[in-house]
Homo-oligomer: 260 residues x 4
């Protein structure tokens, strides 16, 4: 049997300290509910730790990063406080193969904008409206276990198009909102060896992470994003002096042109 | 008739000052040869200016940026000298719709890495080897005018896979190298409203920009990347208080949760 | 100046003969209204003819096909009556570079299913509900001229996900429906040298083809799908006996293994 | 533990009967060597059967099809003899979720052309030339276990671009050929719920299916293409009379327009 997937649930963990409403909903923090959701569906296939913004190095030390196969990311009001050097390290780990699951307001995190290269802006409205999340790729492993072609959230914050992201490599979900908007809600990308999934649901004042289908998708996405190839990938721009096949020309390199 | 495409050919313009070999090949700088190539094929459809690293603000003032529909980018030894605030501005313009053509060693430019989110690393070898550039998308406007399914460069620097880029939205060319490598040589992406094309050929000590097919592809890519839609795109994350369709729930927003 | 785009508007043209409601809405047939829409926006850039199911060879003789740069296709109740040999010819022309715009109920046409390889099935409901069509790719030429990030149709037939199509190469529009569904409404694919656009709006008993935005998108899509590359593409599986580069091995071919 | 993947290795199985050279290389048929390769790497994760052209219904009865999770397909000289009704059934199973691995000369099989909608034509040459297969997506599960960024085949039949296929959803391998060509050698698509992988190596007179890396990739692709989602997908174009959200308009449907 293969080793368990090592998951780090990263959470900003601020709203729980400033809002009674959020604290009541998530007394131990949203991260603990996410952790439980992943464990509920993946059991012995995972070992899950958590890390939060206000820990030293945001809880993302080199040891933790090296020991993480998949990271989930929730942030909202404190994106700017995430240190650039930590973002650098997380990006590096994704390109090396670590999976990254970005949730809800994490669309505006430094790490997602860094990896996607766009603003990740969107329209939004908090009006407790109804959301219907349609699956447009039923064969995708992230949809596994859903019992219908759609699932619903009774009250949500709305996120609407235009969502400024690169066209997803795979589109899994598209949301309908009561107020008239649509949104690309479940989006997959590959960057380097790493897999990235953005999943829209998750507002802090609605009980989104207690929803059965949201929990299932979250767990599925962790499984999907786990590294699945040992093939070597070099990201260090090697000069390959010896060709694999003979080259006819004789050529002297002006090394000064390659110095920088 | 539509307005001409306003093109800015950006060039690092350093090798011409330090290497006699490069200076002999490109006495007025590579940018002047690129400019001539674009004008040769697009004529009155374009107005082309140039800008270089050592000009104030690298020649990319707010006025120049606002007046540019498509920018081409060649850099090599001085990527690190490009100021981050200029990169910020170029990125913003791309997302707003400016086309960007990145050439050869520009793969390692700050602007391409910023927009793609990956390292853009690759294998390389300078051995004056033969390259055959195969078209895998003959219907693409960037291939227009090519007379065969491939074209050749007698002596080139080799760039080989793995090229650490997001999977291109459209793949136009794949290169074969005498020494045994392949490379994704003509790659299209869309980011925000902007179109990006990476085109591999272009080493400074080979007469690449005098090659008829390279010149044609360069001009084609400028035409392809020019803005072609006036549709509005909002990148400022607007809160849309008034829904388009009625929302049943009553909901009071805790504004403090949205402050950051 | 380049030659005008030669457009053939193909229409089943049956409902207008059997339904007073449709006839009243489109007294000369839907195809004449589509033709006028394309001419309204593209003027001298196009020459538009029409062809209909009940003409000999469905109006799609070899001469007409050879003289067509872009074909638009509307069908509904008589898909099965389209002859396979005509479908063969249209497919061949698309692979050679002819653009194809498939409209509304044309999703179930033989030609679209042939080119996409899937069932093209979807959910549907005719309840005169409201549709809001969101643009998710504002830089795409098919969105040019739209004045907002969305446009609306007051009363439409609903088409909902799951829409059984290959993931579009480019997604331009996603629809919201009053009754709770979403739909990928403006989808681009490339097959061979040809470009394909599926555009959802168009029910026969609603005045969809009189809508300003629908007309604009239709015209834009014709322009987008027009052939834009003269590069040669061989679809005849040639045996290339003479290599471009020397091959070390000596090898005798057993020709009998290649006979079939 | 999950149920084993039920694999059907389909083989034309004609060359082994007409060519002493092929028979010597594959005395029990190529399919038996493929079966052994899949079992070698996947062991108890799979149960593998074979089926061949000259069996009744080509060995693909309704029972076999219903009992297959992933099918591999090798054909060459007798594509035309595969009955259309069997192709219909295989296509239906793919859309329902069966994985399909198409090998080498299977590029011209009815089933691949049916699913992709293009000619699948390519350039070719049988000159026992060297092939280097580069991985351009090292994080993909199909590349798992490869020890280098490339692998080689000493003598192969050449397949070269332009390969007339839809742009792959994921590109895993690109081949370099000694004689000067390149080829998209490992290509993934999704159609309906099914995953498709085309893998280039495999000529009948070279010992390709004894190559360690080819065998590994074949086994990996079977694992990758196995169904991984139980989510329901409807392909029967249901009319959804009851909306999920209220519709304001009153509307009477003219049923005659929906009859066909």
């Amino acid at each position: 049997m293969s080793n368990p997937i090592r998951v780090t649930v990263w959470h900003e963990y601020r709203h729980e300290h400033t809002s009674d409403e959020v604290k009541k909903l998530y007394p131990d923090g949203m991260h603990m509910v996410m952790k439980a959701a992943i464990e509920e569906y993946l059991g012995a296939q995972v070992v899950v730790r958590t890390a939060t913004l206000d820990e030293p190095e945001h809880g993302l030390t080199d040891e933790v990063l090296a020991d993480t196969d998949v990271m989930t990311w929730w942030g909202h009001c404190a994106h700017a406080e995430v240190k650039d050097e930590i973002v650098d390290k997380v990006q590096k780990r994704v390109l090396e193969g670590m999976g990254l699951i970005v949730l809800h307001s994490g669309h505006y995190s430094k790490i997602l904008k860094r990896l996607l290269g766009t603003t990740c802006s969107l329209r939004w409205r908090e009006a407790a409206e109804r959301e219907i999340i349609w699956c447009v790729n039923g064969g995708h492993p992230i949809a596994d276990g859903l019992e219908d072609e759609k699932f619903e959230l009774e009250h949500t914050e709305m996120y609407g198009e235009y969502f400024d992201i690169p066209a997803p490599d795979e589109q899994v979900f598209i949301s309908w909102f009561e107020g008239g908007e649509v949104f690309r809600s479940g989006n997959c990308w590959t960057r380097g060896k790493g897999r990235i999934f953005y999943f829209r649901p998750g507002h802090e004042t609605f009980p989104i992470y207690y929803n059965k289908n949201v929990r299932r998708v979250l767990a599925n996405s962790v499984k999907w994003a786990a590294p699945r190839s040992s093939a070597p990938v070099r990201l260090d721009a090697p000069c390959i002096k010896e060709p694999l096949a003979p080259i006819a020309a004789k050529h002297e390199v002006d090394q000064s042109l390659h110095e920088h």
